[in-house]
Amino acid sequence: NLQARLGEIFRRLSGRGYLQPEDVDAVLREVRMALLEADVHFAVARDFVARVREAAAGQEIWKSLSPAQQVIKIVHDELTRLLGGTHRELRFAPRPPTVFMLVGLHGTGKTTSAAKLAYHLKRRGRHPLLVATDLRRPAAVAQLEVGGKQAGVPTFTQPGATDPVAVARAALEEAARAGHDVVIIDSAGRLHLDEELMAELAQMRAAVLPSEVLLTLDAMTGQDAVTMAEQFTAKVGVDGLILTKLDGDARGGAALSVVATTQRPILFAGVGERVDALEPFYPDRMAARILG
């Protein structure tokens, strides 16, 4: 792991009593390698290491008794700062209903996370309505309905509907009629490359004015996370992220990449398939995980 690799470098240097620029480079190269292995985006890793170099320069770590540990601490603190710097709570509308809209690539956990969010908010005294607008994927509506039952929350569906935006609008009317203070909209998976489907999402957003457009990001995503997140942010608008499948062993560097480039916060972590498997996001735990 990184601590061991840095320890090895400093051990080789300790006999010498002075530090060459290439020694600093060797240490920072190990940090960069660790970040790339953790799937941090190439450019984000490069910029991050430059910040570590600056942070380390002022701290005389090279003369310390445990320089490897000190470098790790600088890296960990800087990761935590970047991941948590945008931290905030979920935003609600000044007048109900509050609308949350889930968006993201195929299979990233939107439908599951919608039900989890409903459960989370119901437990906090809200009265959510789940909305099934994925009219394309076979049995997507049925899947959300099962999730709704598990969460103890009703699911709004319009059998036979063909326009997802119309379903979203109708759901708002139903929420007003039935007194739901939160509306959680599940959308169909789509590629950021698909202009027509991205436009559909933008249209849905304009129609229902969500307090939060939440992008689901699979924790095992590699370098593509940045392109995807930037395009969802540019074409639809993203307010926050849900980082899913954190119950695996993916290091999750995509989280750093996306927060760094979009400046949006990770609001929740998905940690399992059950409806109660949603946690707040802890930046310091994520920093330790990325470092491995």
Binding site: G109, Q143, D218, T221, G222, Q223
Partner: protein, 272 residues
């Protein structure tokens, strides 16, 4: 962008960056650039491109075709949550049916919400029969019934859908081993155990491939969602470490969005 360039340190650094951005991983990317640096007799830029292409093709290895002969063949689809298993099974069934084969599906994902319904809709669209039990039932029983029906009805291929599972979940991996043992006990002449992998997956795909391979002896990979912007370079790292061949590419959500893996076309799409 790198095609017209001399092979100097700047070129090699930019090449390494391009390969890492394609999710090949730093270790594999560095191996490729060091092999290129060591290559002899590269005079023109065309020489460099050809050498790089050879190195990448050496990593992928030759195409290993998907096998359903001799019948009856069993295809087991496995992989982590959301990778595209169920949709890939529909595409495979469509392709095999187009070849005139008799195909049967087994809905052995008895866990996830509406998983059986999802596969049932695909079965109806493709025009194939499906073995199903109640949601929450024993997936092993579905596999067993699928095998019985395959024999009884003289089917050419049985395709088994399984629940998504993270490779780190010991009990779920043991369940997968059990499903594999049920198939092995039936001893069909041909079995394909396909790891379905999302092309946008990063380095974690290596540990996924390793653990699934240790559990059930994977015979091939289906790399899905290549119609996105991810390049799927991780399969080169997997080929290098585990020698697992890619057999199909998933390039969309429709039934005909499945192509047999062509190493040359894949490498050409990967090359910067």
């Amino acid at each position: 962008a790198l095609a017209g360039r001399a092979i100097d340190d700047t070129y090699l650094a930019e090449l390494e960056e391009a390969l890492i951005l394609a999710d090949m991983g730093a270790a594999t990317a560095m191996e490729v650039t060091s092999r290129l640096r060591a290559a002899r007799g590269l005079r023109t830029t065309a020489d460099v491109q050809a050498a790089l292409r050879r190195i990448l093709l050496d990593l992928t290895g030759p195409a290993v075709p998907f096998q359903v002969e001799p019948p009856p063949a069993v295809v087991l689809a496995l992989g982590v949550n959301g990778s595209g298993k169920t949709t890939t099974i529909a595409k495979l069934a469509y392709r095999l049916r187009g070849e005139g084969r008799k195909v049967l599906l087994a809905a052995a994902d008895t866990f996830r919400a509406a998983a059986i319904d999802q596969l049932a809709i695909w079965a109806q669209r493709v025009g194939v029969e499906m073995v199903r039990h109640q949601p929450g039932g024993d997936p092993g029983a579905v596999v067993f019934d699928g095998l019985q029906a395959m024999r009884a009805r003289g089917m050419d291929v049985l395709i088994v859908d399984t629940a998504g599972r993270l490779h780190t979940k010991v009990n779920l991996m043991e369940e997968l081993r059990k499903l594999n043992r049920i198939i092995a006990r039936d001893a069909p002449p041909t079995v394909e155990r396909l790891l379905v992998l999302d092309a946008a997956t990063g380095q974690n795909a290596i540990s996924q491939a390793r653990l699934f391979h240790e559990a059930v002896d994977v015979t091939g990979i289906v790399l899905t969602k290549l119609d996105g912007t991810a390049k799927g370079g991780i399969v080169l790292a997997i080929a290098r470490d585990l020698k697992l061949p890619v057999k199909f590419l998933g390039t969309g959500e429709r039934l005909d969005d499945l192509t047999p893996f062509d190493p040359e076309a894949f490498v050409d799409a990967l090359l910067p």
